[in-house]
């Protein structure tokens, strides 16, 4: 039986990790909702943002969080451009499959370019507060992890408010619910889809910066993120943002707690087991709506 201290520590770590997962999965499921696109390059952009944060820190010596001012708008524009110039041009009949390949190609391209520019060496930001931590009822919370969590939480909250309480959010949700009906209601769905894509990519920028604070990055790291993220969005129900957030917290916590008896590696399999179980038992996901049924 693990000690109470270790248990508490794991719960704290799971919570912190789940927050980051939630933000990133929200972006991934957003693309799917809008366009039925499985955006394999999401995590590659995540790593790209992390690299930008690292590089910014190395070059300027300033806090990597400041790089957000550049990456968020940049990624937003990139997302809009990607949707309008590439994905929207694929044949609708084969969109799902071909978009997977196209975004996969983009992921390869980013990975290759990062490797070319920065080599395959693992990189880590060195901050004055890297090893600092706070005490919470005996559990230690690393300051960097707390900042990352706060960033993810704030971004997620912002996304939620935007979707629920803005006119754009209304249009976006209508587009996700029923594209044709949304068009009939006078929504320019192509435009909305483009902005939605940009929004998704902006979450990757924030997530990547948060990630860079306390983790090591290397070009091929994105493969280790895309798997859990895809599992999360399927478990949460493809296209459902609240579903993705809940699934992310549940699975992130499960991973952290399972590390105690199983070790890090086996604990990671929880994502994939949840994925297979979901598809075999409840293909529409556990929190999702009708969208997932036919995909």
């Amino acid at each position: 039986m693990p000690s109470g201290g270790l248990l508490l520590q794991s719960v704290v770590l799971g919570l912190l990790l789940g927050g980051l997962y939630a933000l990133l999965a929200a972006g991934l499921t957003l693309y799917f909702g809008i366009m039925r696109v499985v955006m394999i390059a999401h995590s590659a952009f995540l790593i790209l943002a992390a690299y930008v944060a690292w590089w910014f820190n190395v070059r300027t010596g300033l806090d990597p969080l400041l790089s957000l001012a550049g990456t968020v708008p940049l990624f937003f524009v990139t997302g809009v451009a990607m949707q309008r110039l590439l994905l929207a041009r694929l044949r609708p009949a084969t969109l799902t499959m071909m978009s997977v390949l196209l975004t996969f190609a983009i992921a390869l391209f980013i990975e290759g370019m990062l490797g070319y520019l920065f080599t395959g060496t693992q990189r880590r930001i060195q901050l004055a507060y890297s090893a600092s931590s706070l005490d919470l009822f005996g559990a230690r919370i690393a300051v960097v992890k707390l900042i990352a969590f706060g960033l993810a939480g704030a971004a997620l909250l912002g996304l939620y408010l935007l979707l629920k309480h803005s006119r754009f959010g209304w249009a976006l949700r209508a587009t996700i619910q029923h594209r044709d009906a949304a068009r009939l209601a006078g929504i320019d769905t192509d435009r909305v889809a483009g902005y939605g894509f940009g929004l998704g990519l902006a979450t990757a920028a924030i997530g990547g910066t948060a990630l860079a604070l306390d983790a090591t990055v290397y070009p091929s790291l994105h493969w280790h993120w895309i798997g859990p993220l895809m599992a999360i969005i399927v478990v949460g129900g493809l296209g459902s943002i609240p579903g993705a957030a809940i699934a992310a917290m549940v699975l992130g916590m499960a991973q952290s707690l399972l590390q105690i008896p199983l070790g890090t590696t086996w604990a990671q399999t929880v994502f994939y087991l949840a994925l297979f179980a979901t598809l075999a038992l409840r293909p529409q996901g556990f929190f999702g709506g009708r969208l997932a049924q036919r995909f």
Binding site: P2, S3, G5, L6, Q9, S10, L13, L17, G115, T119, G120, T121, Q122, R124, Q126, A128, S130, A131, S132, S133, R140, A142, K145, A215, T216, V217, S220, L221, H224, S256, Q259, I260, G263, T264, T265, A267
Partner: protein, 407 residues
């Protein structure tokens, strides 16, 4: 419909053209060479990919060796020519590379690549072509369990023996000072894990209880969970079977949890020049094994360090030294046997190395029947912002600090 047939015809035609081009450009591979030709040495190294950094170090070591030998007139009166290919840290590639070097380019000798994972497949190619295979980097146990007859490891000790001096020292402590519990975290990599488990076996035999034993895959970046377990166990000593970045991450994660062991030993990472900066200079008391110090007084090492500095502007590290050692070992055999080409000669080189001792920059080396060197590594410790040799007693530069101060 006939368009399809035409296309197929076109495809077949281009396939023929490609095949002819591929076969045609390599018509003459096997002609005999006159004795004054250079000795061509084929090497495949990971210049890109996971092992790119150490791979480049090995490359510098080989180049330094070739330059030094050539400046002194070459080997057997023949110049040394290195033919280095990049295997992208990929086992498929490394095999194709040695295949190409031996089968197509007909190199005279081969040197080994970097990392245990690449040494085994590469060693098999050399073995099946009957080539002598001296390698600078395959220290893990299984390298020597493949039944290779032509393989020699050009370094003082295999992975499991790296910590021998440390184990002896710990177990010799008086019972009241001796640590009671130990935590181990090792990368799932034959070399890194080999070092940690070598120490683990010896400490367990000496009565020190293992309270945490974690293995993580090479691509792990989040060490929070592992660190939490180690910190919760309050183990007296922590041993990390690490490469570079994972060691840094694990130490930072442990420090985030404010875990203060009496002894902390990590392989590879602490000897890296960037290490102190990477963990924010909180290095106090960290231990690491090393097979090489550029301050060693062996005659060939003095020459190596001086000429290396002249060539590259920095002091050589362990990877460079191991590569240089590989060159020295092969050169000794070539000089003694008097030949360097494919065929019968290779067998003679192997036989000579099997029964002789070679003086190198890491000291005198000799091998058992499987190619294992018969030595142990020195132990270094960080103290006051500097890393110095503390074990064994006869070569130490500073005293061993135990228990270690807080980091």
């Amino acid at each position: 419909m006939h368009a399809t047939a035409r296309v197929k015809l076109g495809i077949a035609a281009s396939a023929v053209a490609v095949a002819l081009a591929v076969t045609g450009c390599t018509g003459d591979g096997g002609s005999e060479k006159p004795a004054s030709d250079p000795i061509v040495i084929g090497i495949s190294l990971p210049l890109t990919g996971d092992f790119a950094e150490p791979g480049k170090g090995v490359q510098r070591g080989y180049e330094a060796w070739a330059k030094i030998v050539n400046d002194q007139g070459g080997l057997l009166g023949r110049k040394i020519e290195l033919k280095i290919l990049d295997d992208q840290s990929n086992a498929d590639r490394v095999v194709a590379d040695y295949e190409q070097l031996i089968g197509r380019d007909k190199v005279d000798l081969v040197f080994g690549p970097f990392s245990t994972r690449l040494v085994v497949p590469a060693g098999r190619v050399a073995e099946e072509y009957g080539m002598l295979f001296v390698e600078p980097a395959g220290a893990a146990a299984q390298v020597f369990e493949q039944g290779f007859k032509n393989l020699f490891y050009a370094a003082p000790a295999v992975a499991g023996d790296h910590y021998n001096h440390l184990a002896k020292h710990i177990l010799a402590l008086p019972a009241d000072r001796r640590p009671k519990t130990a935590a181990y975290a090792a990368m799932d990599d034959p070399f890194a894990q080999g070092t940690a488990y070598g120490l683990k076996a010896k400490l367990e035999a000496g009565g020190i209880t293992t309270v945490v034993n974690e293995v993580y895959p090479p691509n792990t970046t989040d060490f929070g969970g592992i660190a939490a377990k180690i910190a919760a166990s309050k183990a007296d000593i922590v041993v990390g079977g690490s490469q570079y970045q994972d060691g840094v991450n694990l130490i930072v994660a442990l420090q985030q949890l404010n875990y203060q062991p009496k002894l902390a030993a990590f392989s590879t990472a602490p000897t890296n020049p960037e290490f102190a900066k990477a963990i924010g200079n909180k290095t106090e008391g960290i231990l690491a094994p090393t097979g090489y110090t550029n301050k060693a007084k062996y005659p060939s090492n003095l020459e190596f360090v001086e000429k290396y500095k002249a060539q590259f502007g920095t002091e050589p590290e362990e990877d460079e030294a191991n590569a240089y050692t590989t060159g020295q070992v092969v050169a000794a055999a070539v000089k003694a046997v008097g030949c360097a080409e494919q065929g019968e000669c290779q067998k003679k080189l192997v036989d000579w190395l099997r029964t002789n001792k070679v003086e190198t920059v890491v000291g005198p080396l000799s091998w058992d029947a499987q190619g294992r060197p018969q030595g142990a590594h020195m132990i270094q410790q960080w103290a006051g912002g500097d890393i110095q040799i503390v074990l064994p007693e006869d070569v130490k530069e500073a005293g061993f600090i135990y228990p270690k101060p807080a980091w």
